[in-house]
C-alpha cells in the first residue's frame, strides 16, 4: 500500500458481455469474443462493420425532464451497480461523479440538424440535443444517484476513462469529497463509425492487436464506473476493498493530432511516472492491460513505450489487449480496462489477446496468447492513450489478504 493509495469499493460495468462486473469477468475467463457485424443501427457503410454491441439494454427508471442518450443509459446503469454496496448515507450524497465520454449524446443526433436546426428542433430533435454535451452522462449519474458533489464530464479522447479515475483519486485524497464515482461511457454511434471509417482505421474482421498482420480496430460500446474513497473512509464504513489504486500518471506526446509519438516517449514517461508515484519498480508490475487498439501506428508505438519503461526488468513484461474481446469503447475504454485489470487480479488470471498469432517482435514483452494464464497478480497496470496525444497509466494493487 502506498501513501497515495485510494480504495476501490464498488465496480459497475455495462459491456458487450452483458450487464454487470460478473458478466465481464466470466466473459474474459471464457475468452469469449463479442465482435460481430453491427445490427443496432444502419452504419451507412457498404459492409456492416465488425463491432461489439450491447444487445438488450436493461430497463432504467425514467426521470421527468431528463432525456437520456444511449451513452447516458450505459453510464447510469454502470454507476447504479457500482454504488450498490454503498450505504446511501449523507456522505454518499456529498459525493461526486467524473464520467468520461467522447460520443455522449451524438448517438441521438441526425446529420439533418445542420441543414435547418430550427426545423430539426421543431420536429422532435430539441430534447435529443439536451443530451449532446460531454457533461450530460455525469449529470445523469448525479441525478439518478442523487449526488450533491461535483458531477463533471471528462473528454480526453480514448484516454478519458482512465483520466477520470486519476482525477477522482486526487479529489478523494484531497478531502474535497468523501467518495467519487469515476469512469467512462460511450455508445456506438453512426457518427463515430463514419469517422473511424473515414480515417481507414477499422478492421473489417475481428481485430488482432499487436499482431504483425493487424489491420485496425473494431469499435465497441460500454461503460464502467468505480467507487473511489480513502482507505480510512472505506474502513470506517466497514465495506470490502476490491482493489487499491496505488499510483497514476498522465502525459501528452505533444506530437501529432492523431498519431502517437513513433517512439512511444510520452507513454513511456507516463508509465515511469506512475510507477514512481506508486513507489514500485518495474519488476513489481505483474501485468499490463494495454491500450492495444490494433491500428498499425498505435501498437508499434506502444511496444516501444514498454521497451523503454520496462528496460532493466528481470523478465519480459506480460502484456495483452482485451480490446480483442469487446472492441474499442473510446471514452469508456480506460475505465472498462481498469475493471478488466481488477477482474484479472481478483481471479489470479492474466487474460490473453485473442487472435494474436504472429506478435510484433520484442524482447521486452511477454505476449499473452492462447488461453488465460493462472498466476497470483498482486500488482498490475492499465494503460490508455488517445487522439491528441494524451496518455494515462493506472496501477492497481490487491489489498492484503485477498490473494
Amino acid at each position: 500500500m502506498g501513501e497515495n493509495s485510494v480504495a476501490i469499493t464498488g465496480i459497475g460495468v455495462m459491456s458487450p458481455f452483458g450487464p454487470g462486473f460478473t458478466s465481464l469477468s466470466s466473459g474474459l475467463l471464457e475468452c469469449r469474443s463479442c465482435l460481430r457485424p453491427l445490427t443496432i443501427f444502419d452504419s451507412g457503410l457498404e459492409v456492416s462493420p465488425t463491432v461489439a454491441e450491447i444487445r438488450d439494454l436493461p430497463a432504467l427508471e425514467e426521470k421527468s425532464g431528463f432525456r437520456l442518450s444511449r451513452t447516458d443509459r450505459l453510464a447510469v446503469l454502470a454507476a447504479l451497480e457500482a454504488a450498490r454496496s454503498a450505504d446511501k448515507s449523507a456522505d454518499f450524497h456529498e459525493s461526486g461523479a467524473l464520467i468520461a465520454t467522447t460520443v455522449a449524446g451524438l448517438t441521438g443526433i441526425n446529420p439533418a440538424i445542420v441543414a435547418n436546426p430550427a426545423h430539426f428542433y421543431h420536429e422532435g430533435g430539441f430534447a435529443q440535443v439536451t443530451a449532446y454535451p460531454a457533461y450530460h452522462p455525469a449529470d445523469a449519474v448525479g441525478a439518478w444517484l442523487e449526488l450533491n458533489g461535483p458531477c463533471w464530464g471528462v473528454s480526453v479522447a480514448c484516454a478519458s476513462g482512465a483520466i477520470s479515475i486519476a482525477l477522482a483519486a486526487s479529489m478523494v485524497l484531497s478531502g474535497e469529497v468523501p467518495m467519487m464515482l469515476a469512469g467512462g461511457s460511450d455508445a456506438l454511434a453512426a457518427y463515430t463509425v463514419s469517422g473511424f471509417n473515414s480515417l481507414q482505421a477499422l478492421d473489417p474482421e475481428p481485430c488482432r492487436p499487436f499482431d504483425k498482420n493487424r489491420k485496425g480496430l473494431n469499435m465497441g460500446e460500454g461503460a464502467a464506473v468505480l467507487v473511489l474513497e480513502t482507505i480510512e473512509h472505506a474502513k470506517a464504513r466497514n465495506v470490502p476493498i476490491l482493489a487499491l489504486l496505488r499510483g497514476w500518471a498522465m502525459t501528452n506526446d505533444a506530437f501529432h493530432p492523431t498519431a502517437p509519438d513513433e517512439q512511444g516517449r510520452g507513454l513511456a514517461q507516463c508509465i515511469t511516472s506512475a510507477m514512481a508515484m506508486a513507489r514500485v519498480s518495474s519488476d513489481d508490475v505483474g501485468y499490463v492491460n494495454s491500450h492495444g487498439t490494433g491500428t498499425p501506428l498505435n501498437d508499434v508505438a506502444e511496444v516501444k513505450a514498454y521497451e523503454a519503461a520496462f528496460r532493466g526488468r528481470r523478465r519480459p513484461i506480460p502484456v495483452s489487449s482485451t480490446k480483442s474481446y469487446f472492441g474499442h469503447t473510446l471514452g469508456a475504454a480506460g475505465s472498462l480496462e481498469a475493471a478488466v485489470t481488477i477482474a484479472g487480479m481478483r481471479a489470479s488470471t492474466l487474460f490473453p489477446t485473442l487472435r494474436l498469432t504472429d506478435p510484433i517482435e520484442s524482447a521486452s514483452v511477454d505476449w499473452l496468447t492462447g488461453t488465460p494464464r493462472q498466476q497470483p497478480l498482486p500488482l498490475a497496470m492499465s494503460v490508455s492513450a488517445g487522439f491528441g496525444g494524451s496518455n494515462a497509466a493506472l496501477i492497481f494493487e490487491l489489498p492484503d489478504g485477498v490473494l
Binding site: A115, P117, H122, N148, S170, S174, S198, T251, G388
Partner: protein, 362 residues
Amino acid sequence: MTLARPSVTGIGTVSPFGPLRGLIRQREMSPRTITGWPTNGMRRAFLVEPFRPTDIIPGLKTRRLDRLSVWCLVAAGLAMQDAMLNLEQEDRSRIAVVLGTGIGCIELTEQFFQSMATNGYAKSDPILFPEGLTNSPASHVARVFGLRGPNLTLSHKGVSGEGALMQATALLRTGQADVVVVLAGDTLTRTVYEWFEAAGVLSQACLSEIPVPLPFSTGCDGFVPGEGAAAVVMESAERATARGARIYATFSTGHATSNAKAGPLAVRRTLGLASLADVNLVVSSANGSRAHDDLELGIIQEVFTEKVSVVAPKSVLGESDSSGILRLIAALSWSKHKDPSIALLLGASTTGNTAAITFDLP
C-alpha cells in the same frame, strides 16, 4: 514539489473585445448582428470578430482547425507571453494544459455531420472527424507549444471554466505539474443559437438594437449568447516573481456542487475561515435570465449578511458555459480594489450546478 496556493501569472483572451494579452482595458461592449449564418430577421450575440491568428502568434498554423482550437492556441500563447514564460528554458514535461468547455468543437462537429449528409456515411471527411473531438483545442496547445504534462478537457454546464481552474489547482497541489495553462472557451454556431431560440431563453435584445438589460435588473427578460476563450497561467508566486512576472491573483479554495440547494453551503465552505468583510468582490455569473439571476441572488443573499460588491461581466461578454475564466479576468481588469482583498468567483446554472472559488488579490 507540491504547491499550496497557485497564482495567476499570465492572461490571454480571445473575446468580443478581440485577442488581448493581459487585462481587458475596455469596459463597454454591445452585441453584434449575426452575419455568419442565415437568420430569420435580426439576431444578435456577443461575437468574436474574425482576426488573423498569425498577426498575434507569428507562424501559427490554424488551417482546418475548429475556431475553438484556434482561439485556445492564441489565448494560450498570449497568456504565456504575459507570464514571461520562456519555454526553451522550461521543463515542458512539467507543464500541463487544462481546458473547460461546455460544447467543445461544435463548429467542426457540424461540418462533419454535413459531410456525412452530403457525401454519405461511407465518404465523410477524415480531416474534420478528429478536429471535432472535445479535447482537440487542449491537444493542439500541447502540440504547438510542446507541453508534455497532463492534458485534460472537462465539461460542465455553466461552470466549465470554474471546473478547469479547480482541476488545474489540483494538478499543482499534488505535484503532477509545475505550471498549468488553464483554458476555457466555447463558440456560437447556428445550431446552438437556434436551440436557445427554440428553448425561449433569449433576451429581446437579441432581436433588435435595444440595450441589453443588466443582470439582476427589473428589465431582465433572458440572456444574450456570447463566445470566446480565455487562458491563464497558474504556478507558484515564487516561480513567477523570479522571472519578473506579475501576480494577478492567488487561488485560495474552491468547492462545487450539483445540487442547487447546496449552493450557499458550497460558497460557505469556499470562504472557510475568511471573514465575509474581507470579500470585496463577488464575480457573478448572472446572465439576465430571471431564473438564473434569482438563483444566484438567493445564494449571495443567504451567505452575505452585509452588502457586498457584485459584478456581472456577462452583461458585456454574453452567456456561455465556459465563461468562468473570462469573467474572472474581466473582474480583475475592472475592479478598483486598493488593499489586499478576496474575490469570490461564483458560477451557477439552473440545472443545479454551483461552483465557488476564492482568489486573493494582491
